[in-house]
């Protein structure tokens, strides 16, 4: 009798395992257009590493900057696993979008640089898997036009570029880049209710605003999308602010004259002030709505493990957040990542920046670029801060 029972039990177990085997786990992954091929490779290796389960992994094209917006359009239709920029963390959390990471948490914390873990956490809770540590910007320049001494100050850069009849590129009408001026002596924070605070309209902020005004009014100033920088570098552009994703394109255009360094200082009230910047991370999150939380977490972890961070660096030149990969020779030798590291000491975490910040900051930048001086800088900054902090 007992035997029979155990047999039945065993049968049951086999059956249940069998049904688990038969069940296909359908997961959807979001990544940017350029990453699709790479993500597919990673998914294949994930399947190969987990032969006991049948996975049906599909892909949607949603880049890291758009992840939050696309997620909120319909959380149920969003991907199970998606990459996003770490400034979206709080907004995603307030929409209850992220599955808390509880599996292998300690291993993940140990494998990645502290900053990236901090960026993916709220208090002691870890909400996402660090993927890259390169979501920042710095200065690319043409060595043949701008000397190492000149590149230290914005004035020097502008002067050198202008003398050569070339331009200095920065997308000022973009909250992400324009913040570099304000962050020199200013701060974006959160109050106790989780609302955005900003001091960009204090005295230092106004000085930064005036510096932006002078910069955008300069003859050698050039703005626009990345496409303009990559298109014109070397021909019409002598220096430009951008991130690692353009490194290859710019290197190709500049050849031997390729150089990258930290952002320069700008003149505020007659003194030189070092420009700040955002230090951002790209993270991979698991959708709270997912049907298969464990599998989604496993996949997210897989996409961000050491091996795949290395792959990401090799295929797309993205700076790793994994400690081992970051310490590897190849990464250390990368000029763009070195420049980013140089800028890192002046950078602040992007985590405390909420969704409210971007449009008003862009509006201020646009007004400056359009040389629309109907209102003075102080008034504009007051209006900007009022919207950021509302």
């Amino acid at each position: 009798m007992k035997k029979l029972l155990s047999l039945a039990l065993a049968l049951c177990m086999i059956l249940s395992v069998g049904s688990a085997l038969a069940e296909t786990v359908a997961l959807k992954v979001w990544g940017s257009q350029e990453d699709q091929a790479m993500l597919q490779e990673m998914a294949e290796s994930f399947k190969a590493a987990n032969p006991d389960k049948t996975y049906d992994i599909t892909f949607g094209v949603v880049g890291e900057p758009d992840a939050k917006t696309k997620y909120l359009e319909d959380p149920e239709a969003a991907a199970d696993v998606f990459a996003f920029a770490n400034d979206q963390l709080y907004d995603l959390l307030s929409a209850d979008a992220l599955y808390e990471v509880t599996l292998n948490k300690d291993a993940i914390i140990a494998a990645n640089v502290a900053g990236s873990i901090e960026a993916a956490s709220n208090g002691d809770h870890l909400y996402a898997y660090p993927m890259t540590a390169d979501n920042g910007y710095f200065l690319y320049y043409d060595k043949s036009v701008i000397s190492e001494e000149q590149v230290k100050t914005l004035d020097g850069i502008l002067e050198a570029a202008n003398a050569a009849g070339k331009k200095v590129f920065m997308d000022v009408s973009n909250g992400w880049y324009i913040a570099s001026f304000f962050l020199a002596n200013g701060k974006l924070g959160l109050d106790e209710n989780g609302k955005q605070t900003s001091d960009f309209n204090n005295e230092a902020g106004v000085a930064a605003g005036e510096a932006i005004k002078a910069f955008t009014a300069h003859e050698a100033f050039l703005t626009g999308d990345d496409a303009i920088l990559t298109g014109g570098m070397g021909d019409t552009i002598a220096a430009g602010v951008s991130g690692t994703w353009n490194a290859d394109a710019i290197k190709e255009k500049l050849g031997d004259n390729y150089a990258a360094t930290k952002l320069p200082t700008y003149t505020a009230n007659g003194e030189q002030v070092q420009m700040g910047s955002f230090a951002g991370f790209k993270l991979v999150g698991v959708n709270t709505m997912t049907q298969y939380p464990e599998d989604a977490m496993a996949l997210a972890e897989w996409l961000t493990n050491e091996e795949n961070q290395l792959k990401r660096f090799e295929m797309r030149a993205m700076g790793p957040s994994n400690i081992n990969v970051a310490a590897s020779e190849a990464v250390q030798a990368n000029e763009a990542l070195a420049a980013l590291a140089l800028q890192a000491q002046y950078a602040v975490s992007q985590k405390d920046v909420l969704g409210n910040y971007w449009s008003p900051a862009e509006a201020f930048g646009t007004t400056m670029e359009a040389k629309d001086y109907a209102k003075d800088v102080k008034t504009l900054l007051d209006e900007m801060v009022a919207q950021i902090t509302q």
């Binding site: 091929a37 949607g60 949603v62 359009e73 626009g224 990345d226 496409a227 298109g231 019409t236």
Partner: protein, 416 residues
């Protein structure tokens, strides 16, 4: 009997005077330069030696015009005047060419100390252009030909140039959106072939097929519904008719964007989100609201026709099929083609319905995506190629329906 048109001889003389003055203005100062000893001016003739190719057409056209003008006064013939008009048109073109290449001319002469700006141009070129147009105007008037040709030509080029630029860019070899030059340096058909071969990121052929399928079904469904609605409202009388028509009118006034999110969730609730069927439903649902045009058309079909049939014992169903439909071919064509075009041009509803599902995009949304910041550099020329491929069938269809289009938009309202 055609009345023979006579030339206006006094205008011929005036045209000659204008033409001669125009030619003489080649001797006026064209370019002012600041030099050590002060300002100095150069006429077109003086500049000729420095920038031969840029100014030679100008001199030839002006000389030819002057010669023909004198001949025309001596022996006024219509043929001569036509030649004169052509020569003057050539002069205008050459003048414009000289104006647009003035910077190169100035740079080539090396006469300018500072970078050239249009303010450095002197009176001569403006006088030349002005007189050339006046002379052309007078010549046309002398022939009793409409002077509207001048304005129409200018306008036609303003309207066509961007389209021509689109086509040329579609064949451009160099990538990038913001080039420093206008005409492609190298031509290639690669952009077209790559649209169909490199499908891993942007699956253009698939999108094209999607759009075609959606368009065909939308076209069928919309046409059927529009005909049903408009026949009902035009011919049948029933209690709720007026109320329903007004409701239809009111519903059309809501901005579509307001409800598209709700439409998405309804589609999701019935399990159709992200499918091509949902696009067909949404487009035909929208298309059915445009029944006013067809109703206006049915209103104009004489009622006596169906009354006669009814007396012969035909049911309303028979009347619809046997009497109304056969005589509404134009409006059927119009409705069908407008419905067919809709899926090719909408990119908003598709993006709300399809979200991240690239495989089910339509061409319009796909092309729109190609111009987003991260893709524009690589994909701009392919965007142009794709746009040409979308534009060709629509242009052909539109040229076919333009006659009905006019009747359609103006509807019964203007048939008074």
């Amino acid at each position: 009997m055609k009345k023979k048109q006579t030339l206006r001889l006094n205008l011929v003389s005036l045209a000659m005077i204008a033409t001669l003055l125009m030619a003489a203005s080649l001797l006026l100062p064209w370019l002012n330069t600041l030099q050590m000893e002060g300002q100095k001016s150069y006429s077109a003739v003086q500049l000729l030696s420095a920038s031969f190719l840029k100014l030679l057409p100008l001199v030839i056209a002006a000389a030819a015009s002057a010669a023909v003008a004198i001949l025309a006064v001596l022996r006024p013939r219509k043929g001569l005047l036509i030649v004169l008009a052509a020569a003057l048109a050539a002069s205008v073109l050459a003048g414009v060419y000289a104006l647009l290449t003035a910077k190169e001319t100035a740079d080539a002469t090396g006469l300018l100390a500072q970078p050239f700006m249009v303010r450095d141009l002197s009176l001569g070129i403006w006088v030349f252009l002005g007189l050339a147009i006046v002379a052309l105007f007078l010549t046309l008037s002398a022939m009793r030909e409409p002077t509207e040709y001048i304005i129409l030509t200018v306008m036609a080029s303003v309207w066509l140039l961007p389209i021509i630029w689109l086509v040329l860019t579609a064949f451009r070899q160099e990538p990038g959106a913001y080039t420093t030059y206008l005409l492609p340096k190298n031509y290639t058909a690669d952009n077209f072939t790559r649209l169909f071969t490199e499908t891993s990121q942007f699956n253009f052929p698939r999108w094209y097929m999607n759009t075609l399928v959606v368009a065909i079904f939308t076209c069928a469904l919309t046409t059927i519904m529009v005909l049903m609605i408009s026949y009902t409202f035009s011919r049948l009388r029933f209690p709720a008719r007026k109320a329903l028509m007004n409701i239809g009118l009111i519903l059309g006034m809501f901005p579509g964007f307001m409800s598209m999110i709700a439409v998405y969730h309804i589609l999701k609730a019935i399990g159709l989100a992200k499918s091509l069927i949902s696009l067909v439903l949404v487009y035909s649902g929208g298309g059915a609201m445009g029944y006013f045009v067809a109703k206006g058309f049915f209103d104009t079909i004489p009622r006596s026709l169906d009354e006669a049939a009814t007396i012969d014992g035909a049911s309303r169903n028979t009347v619809f099929w046997k009497i109304i439909l056969p005589s509404s071919q134009p409006i059927i064509v119009y409705t069908a083609i407008t419905a067919f075009i809709a899926p090719w041009v909408d990119f908003i509803f598709v993006s709300v319905i399809m979200k991240d599902d690239y495989q089910n995009y339509t061409v319009a949304l796909g092309l729109y995506r190609m111009l987003e910041r991260e893709h524009i550099y690589e994909y701009f020329t392919r965007f142009c190629a794709g746009a040409v491929l979308v534009a060709i069938p629509i242009t052909l269809l539109f040229i076919k329906i333009q006659k009905f289009y006019v009747e359609g938009v103006t509807g019964g309202a203007v048939k008074g």
